[in-house]
């Protein structure tokens, strides 16, 4: 009976670990652009290129590399464009800051209008 319980606990724990690893893999696959496809991630694509990248990412994860290291490797080979969610750099600065600037200008204008009305 003890053995049976031990086996069940072992299976539950190992399946949890397995699904966590699969989740991470899928997360990375969804953030990598299939550069030979149109607007698809490698998760959605079954092209040769996507399959090769998926195998390589899986291998790198099994070898203990983390998500960041994998992105860095792919960006060094294929450029920032390979990731759907690029980091903050000079080219993407406008993309990150513009909504914030517009929001602040809007807030300032509303604040001023409000003040004028009070006066």
């Amino acid at each position: 009976m003890k053995k049976f319980i031990f086996i069940i606990i072992f299976l539950i724990l190992s399946s949890n670990g397995f699904s966590a690893n699969e989740e991470l893999k899928n997360k990375i696959y969804k953030n990598i652009r299939c550069i030979v496809c149109q607007g698809q991630s490698i998760y959605e694509s079954n092209s040769d290129f996507a399959i090769d990248l998926k195998k390589l990412i899986s291998k790198k994860l099994d070898n203990g590399e983390n998500e960041k290291q994998i992105y860095e490797f792919l960006i060094s080979r294929y450029g920032e464009w390979i990731v759907f969610n690029p980091g903050l750099n000079f080219n993407s600065l406008a993309l990150w800051l513009l909504p914030l600037i517009i929001f602040m200008i809007g807030g300032f204008l509303i604040f001023r209008l409000n003040n004028r009305k009070k006066k």
């Binding site: 550069i35 040769d48 450029g79």
Partner: protein, 172 residues
Amino acid sequence: MKNKYKIIILGITIVIIFILFLRVLNSNKTYQPNQMIGKKIPEFILEDLFNKNTKLDSNILSGKDFAILNIWASWCIPCRIEHPFLMDLKDKNQINIIGLNYKDESGNAKNFLKKYRNPYSLIGIDKKGEVAIQLGAYGVPETYVLKRGKIIFKHIGPLNEDAVNKILELKK
């Protein structure tokens, strides 16, 4: 007067936003072929197509003054189109060409070279396409020009006259 300043500031803001958007619109949204330019060739060791005891080691490429690394496969139709250019580079210009046989059957690759002649001094077998990814390639054919192990030029797709002229210029 105050309104005049407001209009000028609004105008400048609109122009800045317009320039920023134009910059993003004009930026390269496709694959960046220059990513590996100026970088050292990644390390790899591959088995040679004709001799199992010979290895294609990236260090061999690092030791060469000028070499071409060409990714090809027997199933790749554009590779047949570029093949005469590779033969010319080898025969007429004595350029050292190293092949990377990409996801191919060895028998088919050998037959291909028998039929069209062999321009390569060494051919590494990249059965899984992993070395091609290390090189930042995404298909065949692709050609890399190496100077003392550093990638100085890359051509995507079959070689043509322009690409060959560029390679010869780089060799000078």
